[in-house]
Symmetry: C2
Subunit: 212 residues, 2 copies
């Protein structure tokens, strides 16, 4: 099972690393970190680089595609070479997936037309621009297309995907291997339950991070 | 607030990236990925490299130290130059933390002597070798030393730490920014609740991963 995880400058590291940490544990998984130009790809805050070893042309028919998000997606929404690659990969993929604003790239490639889909709560409205129906759920599956909510939701998405691709027993054991027994210290992880002042602070934090 | 995150070959990527994704969102956080030799550091399965930009000698007095785990920790348990660095950093740090088997490195440096501490459930027994009292909790705080359980527990640890270092309001907003509203598909993330066959499969998975 070949898993292609797209990297680009301005990505959110956890969007890519959460699914990676789950999916490589599937037996016979082969993980390929791909980018338009191989090499180090810097995160949204430029504090960390993840290395892409493969180019898009190296990886043409992965079984699973994972598209992470991050501020860097904006510059790619009109990148026809990348969108073409996503379309071609999606034509033969078994699963096409995204985390956070990675779904905007799937949308721009036309993959989400007529489908329910999700993304980071701050960008949810934008999905309609691509003919998708925005849904505020953590993991949204429509046939072979699976979109996840913001950042940390990629872990839940990947465990769901591992269950679909390799069976529940495999996914259950992977969940134990990564000791995914979450105990968040607060109940503010969803805008549906966070109080208004937390939502306002999170919006301001996101704006400040973009400005940097 | 300077945050030093240690990288080394054979690390588990999510151990480092989970805390990173939380802690950089603290206002005025400066994240430094450090390694004995700067450059790309390969994960346990050699599918991904994270780039360390700074050397140990570059970063002498960070406010926060994060030590991730992974199979690569074994080769470092007798690395006196690294253990010395950990000891010196710990002498002036505000918070000294670990994720997964990163706590074995803290232990080898003498930091956990006489303290409650945790680590990945598969390595819990090893903590006693370093004079620590093994505790099967997700996040264990003893004064300024915070250890987290396996892999994904670093996210919970870092949110706890962000609350301690920057206040609950900051941590609540960060939790919303990373949309950390976990919905694991199974209830097998802890060995305390996973059924025996899942535990056996997870052990076998870990052995197979080490053998690769």
């Amino acid at each position: 099972v070949q898993v292609a995880i797209l990297l680009f400058d301005g990505l959110t590291a956890l969007d890519a690393v959460g699914p990676y940490e789950v999916l490589w544990r599937m037996q016979d998984a082969e993980i390929a970190f791909v980018a338009a130009e191989p090499g180090p790809k810097w995160t949204d805050n430029r504090a960390l680089a993840l290395v892409a070893e493969r180019s898009l042309s190296d990886v043409q028919q992965p079984d699973i595609l994972v598209v992470p998000g991050g501020f860097g997606t904006r510059a790619l929404l009109a990148d026809e070479a990348l969108l073409d690659w996503i379309r071609r990969v999606h034509a033969t993929s078994v699963w096409t997936t995204s985390v956070c604003t990675g779904s905007l790239l799937l949308g721009a490639a036309g993959v989400l037309q007529g489908l329910d889909a999700t993304t980071h709560w701050l960008s949810l409205d934008r999905l309609a621009e691509f003919g998708a129906r925005p849904v505020q759920e953590r993991v949204v599956r429509q046939g072979k297309v699976i979109t996840a909510a913001g950042v940390s939701a990629g872990i839940d998405m990947a465990l769901t995907l591992a269950a679909l691709a390799a069976g529940d027993d495999v996914a259950r054991a992977i969940q134990l291997n990564i000791e995914y027994d979450p105990h968040p210290p607060f109940d503010t992880g969803s805008p549906r339950r966070a109080p208004p002042e937390v939502i306002e602070r999170a919006r301001a934090g996101s704006r400040a991070a973009q400005a940097r």
